[in-house]
Amino acid sequence: MFSQLLLRDAKPELVHTDTRQAIKILVRLNWYRSVPLSCVEEIELHVDDVLLDSNEMTLGVNGQIVPVRSLSEWQNIWWFPLDQALLTVPLIALIGPSRPRVLKYGIKTRIPYFSPRPNGSWGTLNDVATMEIKL
């Protein structure tokens, strides 16, 4: 939902520590109502069609910083739809010299009031937003 707005005011940046680089970007929820983080089934970030490793990816929302790989465990932390969340992705390899790139944010959210399907799975909403950035 509102996929074209998911990266509105995203303010992407490349940050550096002594040994690592990380991409930080403000992202939106693809649903118009609050959901607990346990409903966010997948978050992906691509740079120039390369899927970034999500093992150390974190999501900062509602005053908490949560590893993306464990979102399903957080049913008591809620994401308000008008709030941006800070997605931080430490990079495995150093990114090259600064140049224009295409960043693609994908989010899959389980809609908790849809009834489960006969096979027990739940309906999800998948949205993708892209933006051109210089990193």
Binding site: Y32, S72, L82, Y113
Partner: protein, 342 residues
């Protein structure tokens, strides 16, 4: 029971979802609702507007009350959902669902709403909630939109309402359940988002001809690049619903609230995808005198936020049609003969 000459109008907060998403304040949106005309009602979705949701902080309670009262709005309904899928891999039991529904009832009561719209409850949940509804003085309405009246789900609710004969429960009729054809805004959305024209036409023609979704998907699968339109087809069939208009006859004795669905007004100041004249004719003939709350669904697919411009025109249309229906009733003339075939 007689319908008043002037309908009791309002707006559901889902209507201005895109406006909020693009940075308009809730105060601005409530002010825009109030500007639609005298005695506007506001229907809110807790999970959409309350940052402390699923709870309601004291500060947010005070702020929401202030926004409603300072903008001169009347309270119509609070919208809640039976969200059994909050935890991954676990479907909440009725007992767990009752717990978070009671939290929603508390929010509705604290904000001063006397109607709660709950989607989708089972008859068992409703029976369990009757003492809470009585204690709080809140009426519970169940929305009819995607489920057909003849379905086992709705028939079970009808049986409950007949047996309980309780004034605190009833139906909300979404007029979108009687959609005639795929709205232009969705056709334009397909073209704008890159769905090939031949597949937009295939999906739209299939829906309009009441072709089952499975058959439409099968045909797409058999066409080169047809997979590009699968999501477009699935969304079309899930969002737009068509019931025979006579299904409304079973609903009317238990009707307590109406959503006047809007996809997009045309140049003739009409909503061409929904048979407003026929539906309002039935409401007035029966004597419905409750709220008619606008729900703008075009915002999901429109190019730019345009909710309030659309609602201004829609509410003018409703007033016009409603007045004509009341006049016809007083003359003993029916205006329910359909102009559209179903």
């Amino acid at each position: 029971m007689m319908s008043s000459r002037v309908p009791h109008l309002g707006v559901m907060s889902h209507s201005f979802g895109k406006e909020l998403f693009t940075g308009q304040s809730l105060d601005d949106c409530f002010r825009s609702v109030a500007s639609l005309g005298a005695d506007q009602h506001i229907e809110i979705i807790g999970g959409q507007l309350i940052r402390s949701y699923p709870l309601l902080s004291a500060a947010e309670e005070q702020n929401m009350r202030r926004l409603i009262d300072e903008n001169g709005l009347r309270r119509s309904a609070y919208c809640a959902y039976v969200e059994r899928g909050r935890r991954k891999g676990i479907t909440a039991s009725d007992e767990e669902a009752l717990s978070f529904i009671r939290t929603e009832l508390d929010i509705a009561h604290r904000l001063g709403f006397s109607i709660i719209r709950l989607n989708p409850p089972t008859p068992g949940l409703i029976r369990s909630l009757l003492p809470d509804l009585e204690r709080l003085g809140i009426t519970l309405v169940v929305e009819l939109h995607s489920e057909r009246v003849a379905s086992p789900t709705v028939q079970a609710l009808l049986e409950l309402f007949e047996n309980e004969r309780c004034e605190l429960v009833g139906f909300l009729q979404d007029m979108g359940a009687y959609t005639l054809r795929v709205p232009d805004v969705y056709i334009d959305y397909g073209a704008r988002t890159g769905v090939p024209q031949e597949f937009v036409k295939l999906v739209v023609d299939s829906w309009n001809a009441s072709r089952p979704l499975a058959d439409t998907l099968d045909e797409l699968a058999g066409r080169p690049n047809g997979s590009q339109a699968v999501d477009y087809a699935r969304v079309c069939y899930s969002v737009y619903v068509r019931e025979p208009l006579d299904a409304l006859d079973d609903v009317l004795p238990h009707l307590k609230y109406v959503h006047s669905k809007l996809y997009g007004m045309n140049d003739a100041e009409d909503e061409p995808a929904i048979p407003y004249r026929e539906i309002i004719g039935k409401f007035v003939s029966y004597g419905y005198n409750g709220i008619v709350s606008s729900e703008y669904g075009g915002g999901l697919f429109s190019r730019t936020p345009d909710c309030f411009a659309q609602l201004t025109r829609q509410q003018a249309m409703i007033r016009r049609i409603w007045g004509a229906a009341v006049d016809a009733r007083e003359r003993g003339v029916s205006i329910t003969a359909p102009r559209h075939s179903f």
